[in-house]
Symmetry: C2
Subunit: 248 residues, 2 copies
DNA sequence: CGCGCAGTTGAAAGTTTTCAAATGCAGTGG
DNA sequence: CCACTGCATTTGAAAACTTTCAACTGCGCG
């Protein structure tokens, strides 16, 4: 527990009640780290730095120098890449406890842009420090490989979704995915607010905005969900799961 | 250069002329490693193990215990995941010099199956050994993070392709991608043999087989490519590049 | 030689996109 | 406080693209 340690108890006591922090007692990376390894350890606070960014603001932009990973503490962040002809593709939606930037560790520049979908707070972790620490701590190194592997899988899931599922299936997948991630943070998996606009959803799912709107309307007509603006209630999760598993 | 080293010169001299080994002087991982880091170093031969697998044979199957990564020495390997309802999605086509299994380092089981598209030889590297070595060698650790990051990017490229491109665009992307990877190995990027069937292509690109066939026929009619069976000649690479960059 | 599977081609069907138009919502400035 | 403006969202109808279904050809192998 040497240089890494502490922080967890400090924060656990300073923010015991806020729902935003049920999952994030300290830096999310640390929690993630300690959970994954069943080790009560945490990154040294000296290498971390908290930051708040407003809705629509950038955490970083594509092609800018890559220096740090970011762990989301609250809010939601989207990452996206830009094609040669200016179109963008959202590559991920990151919620509290999740780590941004793992796809850029092989270059000197970020491979995507990261923008806040709502007011968010993040924890910045310089990658060089992390590498140094990982070199000294095999458990941390192992955890890092695991995190990156998970990121590959996340992306592959999206691939499968885009390749094999209908518009309804894609939408169902997204809703189920969001629900699960919220539940993992011990928040409600049935009643929540969509973190993104229909436009972002359409981009992420590879559909036209109109299609997203139509599918959501259909879901509502069938009483599978209830939706007002971005406020969402999943009324028939089993049906959604079934639709999510069903392919073209 | 301690425990890691040697091998490169040994193999470089023993197989100087075979085109299959122009890129792979020793274990591909090592070459990749030494290239990436501009270090003349290589994994200790004691932890490696070569293997040959015939066309259609499995390198490993999904859900089986994860123990090793594999570096392709010759041939071509596809990886694919199976959905709950039995459909499969090809997640990657691996050619010499590329590494398979990076998406499974967070679990005890492989997350996909790997099957040889043609007679192939691979180099098996137990992951636990690699982790141990990486812990002792910061440069190797760094290289590993880079490899995993590249794998994330590869998957994200596929996501973009599936999300934004038409059938023609997808096919063009695949051909250009294959061409580039062959060129990277100093093989011809204009005349080569498709490593996979039309069925594999269709699955990988998220299209129906018939669509793949139609697009290839169209490309031939427009004299963009020449194709007999799997023998391919790219006649108008600039046109292909343009089509690959063009979205829906 | 024939079986089985890969590949091709045509026509119809289906899904999603595109285009167009209207509504709603939020922030801004008068 | 209200009108105004810009964007998000919804809805309808037509257009476009891809899939599905069906049939046929070709190739490799026992």
């Amino acid at each position: 527990m040497s240089t890494i340690a502490k922080y967890m108890d400090v924060e656990r006591h300073s923010q015991p009640t806020s729902p935003l922090y049920t999952q994030c007692n300290a830096c999310n990376l640390c929690v993630s780290f300690s959970e994954g390894n069943r080790i009560n350890a945490c990154l040294d606070e000296s290498i971390k730095q908290q930051k708040t960014i407003g809705r629509g603001e950038y955490l970083f932009k594509e092609h800018r120098p890559f220096k740090s990973l970011f762990s989301v503490r609250s809010g939601a962040i989207k990452t996206y890449a830009e094609t040669s002809n200016g179109e963008i593709q959202i590559t991920g939606i990151y919620m509290p406890g999740e780590i941004i930037g793992l796809d850029s560790t092989n270059t000197d520049a970020y491979n995507c842009s990261a923008k806040a979908l709502e007011l968010s707070s993040v924890c910045e972790i310089p990658f060089s420090h992390l590498e140094n620490m990982a070199a000294k701590n095999p458990a941390l190194q192992h955890h890092f490989f695991a995190l990156m592997s998970e990121e590959i899988q996340r992306s592959q899931s999206l691939t499968l979704l885009l390749s094999k599922k209908s518009a309804e299936g894609r939408m169902a997948c997204l809703l189920i995915d969001l629900s699960k991630r919220l539940q993992h943070r011990r928040l409600s998996g049935t009643t929540f607010r969509l973190p993104m606009t229909r436009i972002d959803i359409s981009n992420y799912l590879g559909l036209a905005v109109e299609t997203v709107s139509r599918v959501l309307t259909l879901f509502q007509k069938n009483n599978i969900i209830s939706l007002k603006g971005r406020e969402l209630i999943l009324q028939e999760i089993p049906t959604l799961v079934e639709m999510a598993n069903h392919n073209h």
